[in-house]
Subunit: 257 residues, 2 copies
Amino acid sequence: MAAALSRRDRLRAATVAEIKEIARRYLVADGPSAISLRAIARDMGMSAPSLYRYFPSLDTLITELTADAYDSVRSAMEVARDATPADDTLGRLVAVSRAFRQWAVAHPAEFSLAFGTPPPGRDMTYTKQQKPDDGAADPNLRAMQACGEAGTRFGAVFAQLFIELWTRRPFPTPAREEIPPRLRVQLGALAEELGGVLPMPAVFVYLSCWTQLYGMVALEVFGHQRWALTDAEPLFEAELAAMIRRLDPPAAGSDGR
Amino acid sequence: MAAALSRRDRLRAATVAEIKEIARRYLVADGPSAISLRAIARDMGMSAPSLYRYFPSLDTLITELTADAYDSVRSAMEVARDATPADDTLGRLVAVSRAFRQWAVAHPAEFSLAFGTPPPGRDMTYTKQQKPDDGAADPNLRAMQACGEAGTRFGAVFAQLFIELWTRRPFPTPAREEIPPRLRVQLGALAEELGGVLPMPAVFVYLSCWTQLYGMVALEVFGHQRWALTDAEPLFEAELAAMIRRLDPPAAGSDGR
DNA sequence: AGCTTGAGCTAACAGCATTAACTGAACCAA
DNA sequence: TTGGTTCAGTTAATGCTGTTAGCTCAAGCT
């Protein structure tokens, strides 16, 4: 059922892909604001209004590029993960983290789209309700929803690794009582959403690690670290090592790699 | 020598201030791309080209707004710092960190300007060389330079606290040998730049804390945490507490607050 | 064969940054 | 006080931008 596309649908898909590819070119060359329908149309030998047959607005195009960015990192991370033995969960976490950073450094514009400031009006990407009439008539809303789902799939790669790690060899967590009540309920809800495998304090560690990772990479890609460092990679590696140490403290030594 | 301004210069400064204020209004209302010279001029009852008497381009205006944002957080942080006893350095660090987050949450648009994706072409904000002909003829370059300096002044608030903390009661750091050589030289250079007070491994801890702080706040303000949390404050407080514990481990107990 | 769908077009509107050329008032020096 | 310079402001124009309306024509389906 993969090739159940009519001739027209295939042509249409090809055009959509070409539009996105050219748009991505402008994006990486001169930033998101350089993406212009007129310029894309010019490059394709078309008129600008024709593009509205494929995207209801420029914003929607950019939203779809953002979703593609999430898929792109995710697949890069999955490749790195699958190149590491399945029984070495910590090794996989390291590989995935490195892949995340490397993708980000190699694709700063896409990274900014997916992990930087969202354009105003598209903040609620991660809304989970909206079950009624789900698909929605508005194709722009549909794109935003798809973007949110792509982001969720991205996050699931990290989450899955933490779940695996926990089931194989639980990592140290703070005691339940050390976590303030208001945080407890939120983390508890999140633990449910993640499948109920991780206990609430483990979710805290998971979020903490992700925050540190994001902070490192975002600071580097956004250029907010150049006042301190000329090459951010060694610091990243050091922080990554610290993170692993936190998840596998040398006390009860094991293979660890 | 504060009032050494001619009448014309005073009027000019007032106009510049009014332009910036209106621009800021558009910024917070609808994001950076909503700042338009024509709209500002319309609001002021002027023609758009007139604004070029005050700013050489829209980009320069935005750059100056970015510099103002740095000054704004910094002053908020300084207020919070000075409201805490000078001998309680850890308390000051907590106060400053909270002020940083609170300012960010209250001013998401300005935060994005200063700490989010930089507009393409203005990446090299933090360049330090360029001593020759320093001021430079290009007023746009001058603005970018001023923006970088404002960013440096912002960072100095945190740096100063870490320096003070270290001189009062040194915090735990990794051993020199645990830090890989390539990172060592960079941190060493940075330690010099910070005045040579902090030893190299302490600089590592400083950067690590700042990264965690930035990660927390950026994730929250950019909305990349809403899939996990409805209210980011408790998690921030928990991470902040963990940071403080790292700087003042309960082993050699002291006042701590 | 005839109708419907869809892909493309042109023309047009409204908004944008920016430049050029010009006017008039404020300032400053003789 | 006069004369020249500086500077704030103007209008007109260029060339971008997203987007809508209305049209044409070929492909696809009945």
